[in-house]
Symmetry: C2
Subunit: 719 residues, 2 copies
Amino acid sequence: MNRLERCFGAAVLLVGVSLISLAISEGAQNAGAIPGFAPTRVEAEQQLEAKLRGIPDAAHAEANLRHLTAEPHMAGTEASRRVAEWLRDQYRSFGFDAEIVSYSAWFALPRTVELELIAPKHARLASPEPPIQGDKSTYDKRAVAGFNTYSPSGEVTAPVVYVNYGAPDDYRELDTLGVSVEGKIVLARYGHGYRGIKAKLAEEHKARALILYSDPQDDGYAAGDAYPHGPWRPMGGIQRGSVLYTQIYPGDPLAPGAASTPDANAKRLAPSDAANLPHIPSMPISAKDAAVILSALDGPPAPRGWQGGLPFTYHIGPGKAQAHMKVVMDFAERPVYDVISTLHGSSDDEWVILGNHHDAWVYGAADPGSGTASMLEAARALGELVRSGWKPRRTIIVCEWDAEEPGLIGSTAWVEANLAALQAHAVAYINTDVGVTGPNFSASATPSLKNVVRDATQDVPDPGTGASVYRTWLVHDTRAERMVTPEAPLGALGAGSDFCPFFDHAGIPSMDIGFDGDYGVYHSLYDDFSWMKKFGDPTFAYHATLARILGTLALRLDEADLLPFDYAAYASEIVRAADGLASRTAKQQEQAAILKPVLDASAQFSASATRASQALAAISSQSLDPAKARELNHALAGVEQALLSPDGLSGRPWFKHTVYAPGSYSGYAAEIMPGVSEALDRGDLQVLQREANSLAAALRRAAQRLDDVARLAQDAAAR
Amino acid sequence: MNRLERCFGAAVLLVGVSLISLAISEGAQNAGAIPGFAPTRVEAEQQLEAKLRGIPDAAHAEANLRHLTAEPHMAGTEASRRVAEWLRDQYRSFGFDAEIVSYSAWFALPRTVELELIAPKHARLASPEPPIQGDKSTYDKRAVAGFNTYSPSGEVTAPVVYVNYGAPDDYRELDTLGVSVEGKIVLARYGHGYRGIKAKLAEEHKARALILYSDPQDDGYAAGDAYPHGPWRPMGGIQRGSVLYTQIYPGDPLAPGAASTPDANAKRLAPSDAANLPHIPSMPISAKDAAVILSALDGPPAPRGWQGGLPFTYHIGPGKAQAHMKVVMDFAERPVYDVISTLHGSSDDEWVILGNHHDAWVYGAADPGSGTASMLEAARALGELVRSGWKPRRTIIVCEWDAEEPGLIGSTAWVEANLAALQAHAVAYINTDVGVTGPNFSASATPSLKNVVRDATQDVPDPGTGASVYRTWLVHDTRAERMVTPEAPLGALGAGSDFCPFFDHAGIPSMDIGFDGDYGVYHSLYDDFSWMKKFGDPTFAYHATLARILGTLALRLDEADLLPFDYAAYASEIVRAADGLASRTAKQQEQAAILKPVLDASAQFSASATRASQALAAISSQSLDPAKARELNHALAGVEQALLSPDGLSGRPWFKHTVYAPGSYSGYAAEIMPGVSEALDRGDLQVLQREANSLAAALRRAAQRLDDVARLAQDAAAR
């Protein structure tokens, strides 16, 4: 039994929504079927894919990573330009039409980052990350100090309050305890959400500054052996990172919604007018330095769940402990070098896009090097296919973004600069970022693409188990619950990587994939080649596997007769989310009334998706007219865009997608039906009304597009 | 609305079992009702209780505790005799007929307890508990070293393996990892179960020795501030304790089921024939010493959930780390001094018994002093009532047990010596042990007594909240689930204190009550008067409150016209447990067939309980004939004994109760329907058959007793 059959059965039994795939004709349910391919073309596709999967090679991937991690190459530095040029040359050597596309964006590098405890005793903190014997890279003086991009400059002396993860619940707990952070320096541990949300909450609660640290309970010795003995964060390791409020909008803060072209005349905001800039200084420190402050705090003992892994009882403060923080940032317009590499298809009308960033906080072996090293191998394989006579059906574009780390700057600029063209031509965006940190495949995707990911991973062997990546993934991700689920789970797309402008802003169907493992050196000096060779992927077999998956996904989306987008699956997620909203408001008549149109529109979307799926399943593709196929594919690719709202979400109009967005306060995780859900959280009936209307309208528009799909499919089948 | 009404309604709606209380006539549902009392007697009882509750006093309780903790007074020492004599004199001064009842039991005091790490480096361990500045008691040289009673003498040099809590699941995890403890010294942290079960499992897995330690995650700095800054265990604190396999039988291991009288001719087993003695040496150490060993272990990193609070990554071993342990125990027949104090009732035919132990590992301020200090105040109050002219209806016996810590020795001996009399006369046993460690009331009881505890606590104010202890308890214990439950929860009686021989062996309806709080100094030097004064109960208000509750419970059970035992509640617990067994075996035909008689007997018990409750509710007590009342009360008190099986549980015949027992491998917690449940765990059909028959027979016998109750009640009502 193949996966499609199983899904179909399960869906009919469990949710009553038929999951009829877009695979064409009865052949779809045979072992040899590939969704979206005419039976007559399956064998050729299988041969092509097999050839492609034979090419990526662990030694090549390792050499790629070695080159990518040869020196620190932070965005805004010359080294980042050198990496971009090398990448361009690599893609050119594979046969791609590759070029560097430059933008100019306003972001900071650190000049001074100082921290000291001044009471009850004095201690100099903000220590640099100590070098590790036997790992030469860690001795390099070019590694940037621990800092938070987009922290403003500032100097603060104040008592310290520990706020656990600095999440909304933590501030509620502080309220209960009667502890205010107003005028204080807030000390928050990393984890449970994006650091930019921690910064925003600290600012909203009137703290004067924010110190972030990595608690050993979360990614240090309490999670497992620390580097160089294991893959976890050593006590001296620091997590750098941006505090830009990307939950409001990502990209150059002075050019929201418009590409930051290097043109000196381009319109820019004044920094004081940018809605996504933090107003209090922040900095990250190591667990070792944090222990000095934390152990000096008095006040009430930390509530249940706030105690971390350091060897003393955590207290909240404030009390006699005082810190002095000084942050001087060098803000400037800095160059950003995206590398855009194109393999032209028979038609340039439809684009399959792959992407990852190339900038790194220091060496970035896992983040982003592992993804790029694998992407290069996938591109090399596609290039080899072209050399051996193959011509892509659709155009394949591989993007290497710069300045992702400061705030998705390179990808956002490119998407904004090419918005209309992307919305007209882009079929899908495949992202990989932290591509390999271990052996556990994981993925997030728009619902219509989840089965595409599942299908592709069925045809790629896992180097650890010998079974398929899909099988290994399924067993691993369902083991914890000790139950057999019929499908490996994919998450929803949240934030935190370059799919964000594609999906949330442009409505391009997107996915994000990679192999996960024990990874405690995130955004530190120690995320280097040695770490990867020792712990992440010693044989580079998972890099080669990721390349095979990326290549397979690209080929399928490129070559499919009909785009294998599963809108029945999308409908079932929408209906479930709408039901969730309905049960949240079951006892509140007014809210329930406001949400009624959302429920109706969800049902309409679901009915339309079912009709479209049935119509598509009835097509006999052998006789499919190419012009009609193109029209049908265009309609299929455009459904996601119909879910965008022209005015965006309230308070953050850059975010156009009405069904998915990163949570305003919930970290990297996706919020489903975010406008409505967050209005309910806040109890704001006026915003709820606006968001419900906007969501319902989007769902109705998408349903109409699905009706177009059904009509076109019926028309094609009738021939 | 009073609690009875609410329970009644909830029970009918939720479980369909009517919870008709034994409160007599309609008056029961009035605010002024007391279950078991004729309406005409309620006012007098209320006045009596009010008078009693006016007597206990914080200053007296504090003075009691100061005396009880004046010196270390471990069982088997002269100091324990001195405490017994003082207690006897106290009870005599209250007007009780008090005497010391001596037994002689075989147990050890330590001669040598040595531990050293010998590889990869040398370190002398087994450090004594360091004194605390400002707490004079902690400097006393008479405090016994850290040791485990009933550890055999032995000397072992072997590699060390860390086994987490040393529970059955942990050994299963080690199997999965391919790590064997055979021939090794096992290092287990305290928590998640009785240390005697840890010792038995280590022995069963062929370890050569066991080291127990207190991890700071469980009761040290990670739980909260450590003594003297807070109530939790300092890094140097050691948890002493017995490793006797009390889950097989408690009391003198050489005299199972028979009182250890000092008579030299009394029959004794050879130690090699005692089924409850450990065969591998064990010892407890501090977190500070454990850190030296744990940080020296290599081998695989600890699995998820095994990492504790020490500041490094835990590894399992074995590897180069070797330890040398030497334990020399001084086993001997040692005197045990129970203090039995009696307040004779109008009739000596029915006995209400209260008890706590008086022996302590060192000072035992919380364990057991706080319970004894409160019990003394309750007894003083009862004595004052007698002095003012009151005469108890039933006889009240207050017991102070010796040698509870080595293995419930004093109470077990007394119960065994007086078994027939107890079964003929004892109405209920009220235990308190660690009486006060904080403000949170908690209780365990046989199901028929749960409402008695709830009722009594409704009439005692909580010193912290001003509301009743019941209300405070209800709010506290249901807060975590953020739900309103109609009743404060009481646990089932497990093991770990002196109710065990009364309940599990003799079938006397029992309860165990106390006030809980943050308490990390259990069984250490630091469980002293200063700890209690600083953290446990600084004003001793909770001691006085516990005395009021103990006195109220004693008075109600003593004075009730009809014993207020709730067998409908018992039935609903039995039916729920039987349903649980049925759903465990739903898919196993053979097991289900074997369990059928248990389900039938449970239904019979339930039907009989309902009939008995209804008949009792119909009695108009004003005209109740005293002889008939006595007969009815005798029948009511005897139902629990009908649940005993003459042959006991398989493998541990001392445990006679078929519905409740401490789990053989699940720690202190109670196992419900233990014979059947554990046979299912082991998959042993033959034992399952035996246990199901024995349980079903017991339930049918108990149902018949309830039918007797119903008949007697109908007869009484017909008058």
